[in-house]
């Protein structure tokens, strides 16, 4: 039986990926990917374009199905236990995933309803304040700048208090102020959340992570906990993969 509460079992991983493959015909987006991530870890995923990073995250976020292999998040299978799992994960992507014709508040309330959150108004207000968008709550999101959209997107992702957060290049396109807020937020909730972040920014990614994964051509090139990483060697490996392009 999948363990819901990690405390009862030794090192029940937040993520357990085994032999994960996603292929169509001969083209493989992901090829036999396996790794395990303990709870409350912060995983940074690096790799060149087309390496399969987004595919991996989308499978873990239940938006795609693998062709073979398994992926378990928080002990729940990403294919079988989809509905249950969705309640406990959040995704922040390049697109804001918000309705432009609704106000910030309406957007959050809408999603709060989708997730069945009790006392939605209070939670929404709380989050709006946390991302410093309270003053714009009644404005249509189509009027927001990229940084603000990203902040609101974070609020949306956190509505249902997910245990695992997936971030797909969250810092891209943000101005320094927004980046600071994002840093702050992540810092606040780091303690009891697991993170998976895709990043093209090597420095940022390494700075935040507790584990690092390099993907290229859908295969795992390197998967190490942060302590075991020698920075220079790591950068070498990374640079060599960047040339590897798409499968």
């Amino acid at each position: 039986m999948p363990a819901e509460d990690g405390q009862h079992m030794d090192a029940a991983p937040a993520l357990a990926v085994s032999g994960l493959t996603r292929a169509f015909g001969v083209r493989k987006a992901l090829d036999n990917v396996s790794f395990e991530l303990p709870e409350r870890a912060f995983l940074s995923i690096f790799g060149p374009n087309g390496a399969g990073k987004t595919t991996l995250v989308r499978i873990l976020a239940t938006l795609l199905a693998p062709t073979s292999g398994s992926a378990r998040v928080l002990g729940l299978d990403a294919v079988q236990d989809v509905v249950e799992l969705r309640r406990r994960i959040g995704l922040i992507s390049h697109s804001p995933l918000l309705y432009p014709d609704l106000t910030a508040e309406e957007n959050l309330l809408f999603f709060a309803e989708m997730y069945g959150i009790g006392e939605p108004q209070a939670r929404v207000t709380e989050l709006l304040e946390a991302v410093e968008l309270d003053h714009r709550r009644l404005d249509l999101t189509r009027t927001f700048s990229r940084g603000m959209l990203q902040r609101l997107s974070i609020a949306r992702a956190l509505l249902h208090r997910p245990d695992v957060l997936f971030l797909d290049e969250p810092y891209s396109g943000l101005d320094p102020h927004a980046m600071d807020i994002l840093d702050g937020l992540i810092g606040q909730i780091r303690g009891n959340h697991t993170f998976v972040m895709i990043s093209h920014d090597l420095d940022k990614g390494l700075e935040l992570c507790s584990h690092a994964l390099i993907l290229a051509r859908g295969r795992v090139v390197l998967f190490e906990p942060r302590e075991a990483i020698d920075e220079r060697a790591f950068r070498e490996t990374y640079r060599s993969t960047v040339g590897m392009g798409v499968a």
Binding site: R86, L97, Y99
Partner: protein, 214 residues
């Protein structure tokens, strides 16, 4: 949502009105030889068909742009529920446009006719039946077509042949209602609408969850 609703309705409504003008031009040379009552059903459904394609396209393109669909897919809501929600949304738009368009059409082309309550009821029923089918199949197809490079062209290409039986049934029924041609023709048309709706909606509903995640 309000703003967008108004905007959508406005554009769909105006589009339907524009169609009326084109009708006038198209029929102007026929003069007295053509009795508008005979072709009213056909003309109306023609207008509704194209208006609905416009509406379907716009509503889903809008959503795709911001990735809202993805957010919905992330949430623990069942896919089929999403289908129904969208379908009902589209259906309501279509019905509202129809309700506005018909009186206008009657005003422009059917002056001097009288309409009994029973007839209006029959027409209303045919409208609802046809619109349900259009909304259902249309939602599925539009979900696909927004992800293509042809967008509205692709939607039209896929939509028209698939909706043909429904359209025919709807025109038959509406025509029978308008001309007072008797219950036989009307109910035959309605039966077809009903059958089509059930079959195609089941199919769309079943296929939707495979389509929407892709």
């Amino acid at each position: 949502m309000e703003l967008r609703t108004k905007e959508m309705l406005m554009s769909m409504g105006l589009y339907a009105l524009l169609t009326m003008v084109v009708y006038f031009v198209a029929l102007s040379q026929a003069g007295a030889a053509v009795d508008p009552r005979d072709i009213a059903a056909g003309l109306l459904w023609l207008a509704f068909l194209f208006t609905s394609m416009l509406g379907l396209n716009r509503s889903l393109v809008h959503e795709k742009d911001q990735g809202c669909l993805e957010a919905l897919l992330l949430s623990p809501v069942d896919r089929p529920v999403i289908f129904f929600a969208k379908m009902v949304g589209n259906l309501v738009f279509l019905l509202v446009v129809e309700v506005i368009t018909i009186p206008v059409f009657a005003f422009l082309f059917l002056q001097g006719e009288s309409f009994s309550a029973a007839m209006l009821g029959q027409i209303a029923l045919a409208l609802v039946g046809g619109s349900v089918g259009i909304a259902g199949v249309g939602t599925l197809l539009a979900t696909m077509s927004v992800n293509t490079s042809g967008k509205d062209f692709v939607l039209a290409m896929l939509f028209v042949p698939l909706i043909y039986p429904l359209l025919l049934g709807a025109v038959i029924a509406t025509n029978a209602a308008i001309l007072g041609a008797g219950a036989g023709a009307y109910w035959t048309g309605m039966a077809w609408i009903g059958g089509y709706d059930v079959i195609m909606l089941l199919a769309s509903y079943g296929l939707y969850e495979f389509i929407v995640g892709a």
